[in-house]
Subunit: 211 residues, 2 copies
């Protein structure tokens, strides 16, 4: 990030600020001044603030969903059994490991996802669903094979619940870490939390369906 081009400096900075303070609360002036570029550069290179936001997500999600697709390919090729642990484990290791050189990057990833999902009118959510829905659906099919006794409709919602648990928790990690520290005098990392998440989600996903 030291001497990257204007476009990348904008993306790097916007990514951090968006994750930190949200989309509406982050002004282009805040981004450009912190990035050391001119204010007009955003509209010149991206067209609008909205387009900047989408560009930030694209840079994040395109490699992620590609890697996820590759991992699913590998799983099918090697005949790895479709267990909830295996399927969810792939996602977590990927989310935590997309940028191993920068551990904070994972937190930014989740916070950004949370921002996108909780975005009120939800056009970003629709955008994500449209561009990355295919990989997501594939993931869900593997999960379905892992828990065949759970009806598809039920599984759909359980995946949503899981998404909520993951994104919500990771996206609010800062405050939660402070509370956890106050109540238990313990520090936790994103990796810690995901390690705790896995059994919780597996338990929820394969729970018995009432009558």
């Amino acid at each position: 990030m030291a001497q990257a081009g204007t476009v990348d400096r904008i993306l790097d900075t916007a990514e951090v600020l968006f994750a930190q303070k949200g989309f509406a609360e982050t002004s282009l002036r805040a981004i450009t001044s912190k990035a050391g570029v001119n204010l007009a550069a955003v509209n010149y290179h991206f067209g609008s603030k909205e387009a900047l936001i989408q560009a930030v997500f694209e840079r994040f999600l395109t490699p992620f969903s590609a890697a996820l697709g590759a991992k699913l390919d590998e799983m099918e090729a090697t005949g790895t059994p479709d267990t909830p642990e295996n399927v969810l484990g792939i996602v977590f290791r990927l989310a935590l490991g997309t940028h191993p050189e920068d551990p904070q990057r994972a937190a930014i990833f989740f916070r950004l996802s949370g921002q996108a999902y909780s975005q009120p009118q939800g056009h970003l959510r629709d955008y994500l669903h449209k561009h990355y829905g295919a990989v997501f659906k594939r993931l869900q099919e593997h999960l379905q094979r892992a828990v065949p006794s759970v009806p598809p409709m039920e599984l759909f919602w359980r995946v949503q619940f899981s998404l909520g648990a993951v994104i919500f928790t990771l996206s609010g990690m800062q405050s939660l870490q402070a509370i956890s520290k106050a109540d238990f005098n313990l520090d936790v990392s994103a990796a810690d939390i995901t390690r705790r998440l896995l059994p919780f989600l597996v338990g929820g996903i394969q729970a018995d369906v009432p009558e």
Copy 2:
């Protein structure tokens, strides 16, 4: 809401708009014009927009946490066993039933909570934790008695995961309903979702803790 006072008309309208579009995206002018009151009324009665937001939450959460406390009292008095189903069931029935005359109110409740939690800098989250942390802690103690084999620290995080699943899902219900309708051609209500949520959360909360 027909001919209530200015203060209540502002609160009623702000509540709906905040839930619909978020805090930053809802202007005082939008609130006051829809409420049919003068723009200056907000600053006159509440002091600032920030104070308005807190007032909206207070009107919501004070009765809710009081009712929750009462239900927990009742549970202790009648000796109802501390099972995950019982404890979580209380919360859900309460959240869905605080205003039986207005079923949409429950959705607003969850959407507002989601907005508060995903609020970037999290001062609202801190505010909530400060004002309603006591009832929350009591709830957690009951849960702890329900699953004594889960260490407190682990349970703390599982409650956070559950919160995430609930708030995140309910707060994004609109979009999710559309997806669910497209993929399964089925309508779902908030009550439907919570019915599906309960076994998921119970399964997650009482899952085995790895080594």
